[in-house]
């Protein structure tokens, strides 16, 4: 075990990658619940509001103590969440306006405190400014231990109370009716989200942390249709984003990690929007094309049927131009498709020289079974 830690300690790069992967996975998993419970804006408020807490934690501890900073950030986040939920109750302000005011107010206080801390000799070296946009390369072994602890706690609790989290996220009323303490589970999920945000700040930064929470979840939802796979995939997207950010951060110390991580995560969303098998743009486009083609074919079959009936001849040969006129559009592509499917065939009808079409046996059977089928 000590050997394992010395390897990690000796290899800064490994520490950084492990930390960023942990943060990404944690944010992805809790982000899935945040998105499903419509708490994206609360996540953004918590992360921005953590900045003054980071500074206060540093000032109290006198050094960059991970636990002191964590506690400060959590305290400030809790205060902000309480303020955001209290303001609409005591005033006429709407919840989103209250949230925005709390977010920007706390963040402004944080930036002021940050400049105070930066003015001190000890503060300038502590690199607290990294908390704005994140710096994975600054992850120390002590940070990694805290991150691992928090990740184990969060993921363990969610695994243990999986079905309670699921039912509360889907239908809090049903949860309550079943005797599940929905309020406690909701509060627990929100608290875990706050914890995940706070430990992720150092890597991603307060400004963009919400993106690492939301983007992997949104991307994952596009690929899968059940909660378990969505949470796992979201965690994987988050971890991959974190690792990518850490690698760039290790190679270029002057590039902030947060934006890189978020770019990768947003890239995953974009790619998923286009490529996802059922919900993606390409899939939707293909589906609508297939629907339209099927509709065209059904319409052509119906016209052929009507003409055959009108002439009392099941093998009636219809001229292509007649079909176009009946449908008000070019019938040729649909006819070709029907021919390939063996439902219609092109035939000559001398003395006329234009192409004519008649129904095949299979086509007649299809019509007998109902044109749409």
């Amino acid at each position: 075990m000590t050997e394992f830690w010395s390897i990690l300690g000796g290899h800064t790069g490994l520490t950084v990658i492990a930390g960023a992967a942990l943060i990404g996975a944690l944010a992805g998993v809790l982000g899935a619940f945040a998105v499903l419970r419509r708490q994206s804006l609360l996540g953004d408020t918590l992360s921005h509001a953590a900045l003054p807490g980071v500074c206060v934690g540093f000032l109290v501890a006198g050094a960059r103590e991970p636990l002191a900073i964590l506690a400060g950030a959590l305290g400030a986040g809790a205060l902000a969440a309480l303020a955001a939920s209290a303001i609409p109750r005591v005033s006429r302000l709407k919840p989103d306006a209250a949230m925005a005011i709390v977010l920007s107010g706390f963040f402004a206080v944080g930036v002021v405190l940050l400049s105070v801390v930066q003015g001190r000799a000890s503060g300038a070296q502590a690199g607290l400014a990294d908390f704005l946009f994140g710096q994975a390369a600054a992850i120390l072994r002590a940070d990694l231990i805290v991150m691992a602890g928090v990740a184990t706690l969060c993921l363990g609790l969610i695994a243990l109370w999986w079905k309670e989290c699921q039912i509360v996220a889907f239908d809090p009323d049903l949860a309550r009716l079943q005797g599940v303490p929905a309020g406690a589970v909701q509060a627990g999920l929100t608290a875990l989200m706050a914890l995940a945000i706070v430990v992720g700040l150092q890597v991603v930064g307060v400004v963009l942390m919400v993106a690492l929470l939301i983007a992997p979840a949104v991307a994952a939802r596009l690929w899968v249709e059940r909660l378990g796979p969505m949470v796992i995939l979201s965690g994987a997207f988050g971890a991959a984003s974190g690792i990518a950010g850490a690698l760039v951060s290790a190679m270029h110390r002057d590039v902030a990690t947060g934006p890189v991580i978020v770019l990768v995560a947003v890239g995953a969303v974009m790619a998923s929007l286009v490529l996802a098998p059922r919900r993606g743009i390409i899939a939707a486009w293909r589906q609508s094309r297939a629907d339209r083609a099927a509709l065209d074919q059904a319409a052509v079959l119906a016209v052929l049927r009507d003409l055959a009936r009108a002439h009392g001849d099941p093998a009636y040969r219809a001229e292509g131009g007649m079909l176009d006129a009946a449908l008000g559009t070019r019938s040729r592509p649909a006819l070709e498709t029907l021919a390939r499917a063996g439902l219609a065939r092109k035939v000559a009808h001398p003395p006329e020289t234009t192409p004519h079409w008649e129904l095949t046996e299979a086509g007649l059977r299809r019509i007998a079974a109902g044109v749409g089928g």
Partner: protein, 256 residues
């Protein structure tokens, strides 16, 4: 929880003096209501009459300012296994990543208790409930891909799997086609014939006599309650619908 003495145990749902208000406006006023076991009851009234609120308040999802509710003689907390609730379709997040079977399984979470996961036995029960409402082929579909009537049937399956003696449904026939409506009514009547009690918030006066055997007319207060044949009168309907009574003929609306 200490056992409370039974109060009106022979009544499936007993409501006394129930009053609910939003801000300063009462939405339900002094409701006294008894639904006997084994009936299929409709709660009917105009928009804003408090029909949905009545179900929610009875179940404790909305906090009443006065009154009490007993199911088979017990407060909801001690009778929860005997009571199931099917919410309005519009209140559900249909985009949630869950299959029809996942949703039905959630009906079993209460009795599974903490930490226990649904296993093979639970999945079999969920599939049987889906089968009973004709949705077995859709067990693996994401719920948003189902039609309105299919979604409704999945939620009825969730109530079935709970093996409740009393099922409360909020507008189960809203937004489904006539064929589906008849299928849902047939399922509910089947449940009633097994001895269960069905209470439905219903919006269509025309079908009340065909579907139900018990009727509650509600407009903030209870206007009338009892067997459909006694309650479904022109006077009662006019008292319930007030200004909208022009829609109703002198002998009540035409029989369906």
């Amino acid at each position: 929880m200490p056992d409370t003495p039974l109060h009106e145990p022979h009544i499936a749902c007993h409501i006394e003096d129930l009053t609910v208000s939003y801000r300063d406006r009462p939405v339900l006023w002094d409701i006294d209501l008894d639904v006997p076991p084994g009936v299929m009851a409709a709660i009917v009234g105009p928009n804003g009459a408090g029909k949905s609120t009545l179900l929610k308040a009875a179940l404790g999802l909305v906090r009443p300012v006065a009154g009490h509710v007993r199911f088979f003689g017990l407060p909801y907390g001690q009778a929860r296994r005997r009571v199931a609730y099917v919410p309005q379709r519009a209140s559900v997040d249909w985009d949630f990543p869950a299959t029809a079977r996942d949703v039905v399984l959630m009906g079993l979470y209460g009795r599974l208790g903490w930490l226990r996961r649904p296993g093979r036995a639970e999945r079999a029960r969920a599939d049987a409930a889906l089968e009973a409402v004709g949705m077995a082929d859709f067990a693996r579909r994401q719920i948003g891909e189902l039609s309105g009537g299919q979604q409704q049937r999945v939620f009825i399956a969730r109530a079935l799997v709970q093996e409740a003696d009393l099922i409360l449904l909020d507008e189960p026939m809203a937004g489904v086609d006539a064929l589906t409506e008849r299928a849902i009514v047939a399922i509910l009547k089947g449940l009633r014939d097994q001895g269960r009690t069905i209470v439905v918030v219903h919006h269509d006066l025309q079908t009340v006599r065909a579907y139900f055997d018990w009727l509650v007319l509600l407009n903030v207060r209870v206007i009338a309650q009892g067997p459909v044949a006694q309650v479904y009168t022109g006077d009662n309907l006019r008292a319930t619908y007030g200004g909208q009574a022009a829609l109703i003929g002198p002998e009540g609306p035409a029989a369906p």
